[in-house]
């Protein structure tokens, strides 16, 4: 009896030790910051674009005369209608359009700084904070683009995303060297780059898995008619896809494949053998959404986010190493 208990404890201890080692390897193995540096440029550019589009009709979205005015926007979150949440924003309280314009210009400038990699350790978290304030104010006008863009900002703010292809890297070479190493991080593998990479990778898996689960609860992704229903939606349509009505087998294949790809992404994006295939499908799916269903920003941003699974070896940075 004693030997059985002893060996069980031994097995459990060994399992725990191996699990801790695997956890440590997964999260705390230093990784190159090059991929998150590339993502910083692309996600930052999308953030600037999103801010500019808000700015084209700022008074319709922010302030006392917006579609959803300040008081109503606040009431949607502060418990006035029975449900309160932590999605608070000081923008609810700003009635002056002059001040809102000044705030928005600052948000755009900080987003540009983040895109260029200027003082990225500061411009990253600031961009994220200002984006969150906007999102909490703009309830009712948001969609998938805002989600994935915000998540990218969040994780890029954790890692040294300004270490490469950035003004920070230039300043480090020309002025600071190894001084102020936190503010101007070097282009060398780091744990924080790995943590940022892993968190975005896992978050993408969660998005796709639950996207697949949600589709699997319907009937049209199974019977193959979902693609037609998407193509027949006039409000989403950009390039006509209604010709697919003449190819029901193609529509069914695309419907089934989309759902199954989303469901299995969480498992098959990790093995080296299947990763390239899943990334190619990701590009095809999101390019299709962008081209045919009018969400070019969302489709582009999802493709950008999928780059997090690309090897850093694909990106050279000779100037950073010089």
């Amino acid at each position: 009896m004693k030997s059985v208990v002893g060996s069980s404890f031994g097995l459990a201890r060994q399992w725990l030790t191996e699990s801790a080692e695997a956890w440590s390897r997964f999260w705390f193995t230093p990784c190159s910051p090059r991929v998150i540096s590339v993502l910083r440029i692309l996600a930052g550019a999308m953030l600037v674009y999103s801010h500019l589009v808000w700015a084209m009709d700022l008074g319709s979205f922010l302030g006392p005369d917006a579609w959803i005015d300040n008081d109503t926007a606040k009431s949607l979150h502060d418990g006035s209608f029975g449900f309160s949440d932590a999605a608070r924003s000081y923008l609810w309280n700003i009635d002056s359009m002059g001040l809102l314009w000044a705030h928005h210009v600052v948000a755009i400038l900080i987003a540009i700084a983040f895109t260029l990699g200027f003082l990225t350790r500061l411009s990253g978290p600031l961009s994220l904070f200002l984006q969150l304030m906007l999102l909490h104010r703009l309830t009712g006008m948001l969609f998938g683009l805002d989600q994935i863009l915000t998540y990218c900002l969040m994780y890029l703010s954790i890692g040294p995303s300004g270490a490469c292809y950035s003004v920070d890297a230039w300043l480090r070479r020309r002025l600071t060297g190894d001084r102020l190493a936190w503010l101007f991080p070097a282009d060398r593998p780091s744990v924080s780059a790995n943590v940022a990479t892993r968190l975005l990778q896992i978050h993408l898996c969660v998005i796709y898995f639950f996207g697949g689960i949600a589709k699997a609860r319907g009937t049209t992704w199974w019977d193959g008619s979902a693609m037609w229903l998407s193509a027949a939606n006039y409000e989403y349509q950009s390039v006509p896809l209604t010709w697919i009505v003449d190819y029901p087998r193609l529509g069914a294949l695309l419907s089934n494949a989309t759902m199954l790809w989303e469901l299995s992404y969480v498992a098959l994006i990790w093995p080296r053998l299947t990763r390239p295939v899943f990334l190619v499908i990701a590009v095809m799916v999101h390019a299709g959404i962008g081209i045919f269903l009018g969400m070019i920003t969302f489709g582009t941003m999802m493709i950008i986010a999928n780059l997090i699974f690309v090897s850093p070896k694909l990106f050279s940075c000779q100037s950073c190493e010089a």
Partner: protein
């Protein structure tokens, strides 16, 4: 590959990572577990500690894109009414003719979908649990406030007091209907969604023309902006 045991800071960071991952996974799980009886009590209890964190970081999403099935789209129409409450000018939102670039169009599209999503009928079925009635009335008031805010914006923008807003549903064609020659934006596929009278709350006491006044039960004549 040999690995050193976790150091003190790595333990702290690991706990932070675990907390964050729980906040990432639970909201879509809660969304999927939401049924007629509400969210699964287990998932609801697990979600409580991370809820404020997830709400602030915009993690409280369901990720149910085009799911469970792609459905009809929803729009809204703004109408200027004359003294006899007859519409003499109408705008449809979203409109590719008036909102550019595509992202601006999509923002208005999402607003129209949001207005439809939060709509609750004014007349509640009999026999409902009192707590459900309280919730539904609060949700109805939310809808009324949002709708009123949208009407107020147009009143100021157009300098015209008599404005109506009505929700529109654009149904999807069956493949055989499309193959028979009906275009996907055929006028018959746009239907005005009905609405009851507004609540007589003090903040909403000012009369807002209801969609019925503007002929809400008729099929609209043209989905495009007329001028």
């Amino acid at each position: 590959m040999p690995t050193r045991p976790l150091g003190k800071w790595q333990w702290v960071i690991s706990l932070g990572i675990l907390f964050h991952l729980v906040a990432v996974v639970l909201p879509p799980l809660a969304y999927q577990s939401d049924g007629p009886a509400g969210i699964s009590p287990v998932i609801q209890a697990a979600t409580t500690p991370v809820r404020p964190y997830g709400e602030f970081l915009h993690l409280n999403r369901g990720y149910a894109f085009f799911a469970p099935d792609p459905g009809p789209s929803h729009l809204f129409q703004i109408a200027r009414l004359d003294e006899e409450n007859f519409p003499f000018e109408e705008w449809m939102y979203p409109s590719l003719d008036h909102q550019w670039p595509r992202l601006a169009y999509h923002r208005h599209f999402m607003l129209a979908e949001y207005l439809n999503r939060i709509h609750r009928p004014v007349d509640l079925p009999e026999g409902l649990d009192p707590s459900i009635i309280v919730d539904l009335k609060a949700e109805r008031r939310r809808y009324e406030y949002v709708r009123r805010s949208m009407i107020e914006k147009m009143r100021k923008e157009l300098s015209h007091d008599n404005i109506a807003l009505r929700r529109i549903e654009h149904a999807l064609l069956l493949p055989q209907d499309y193959s028979s020659g009906i275009p996907i934006n055929d006028r018959r596929t746009y239907q005005v969604l009905g609405d009851g009278p507004v609540f007589s709350e003090p903040a909403l006491s000012e009369e807002v023309p209801t969609p019925q006044d503007a002929g809400a039960n008729e099929t609209i004549t043209d989905p495009k902006v007329p001028s």
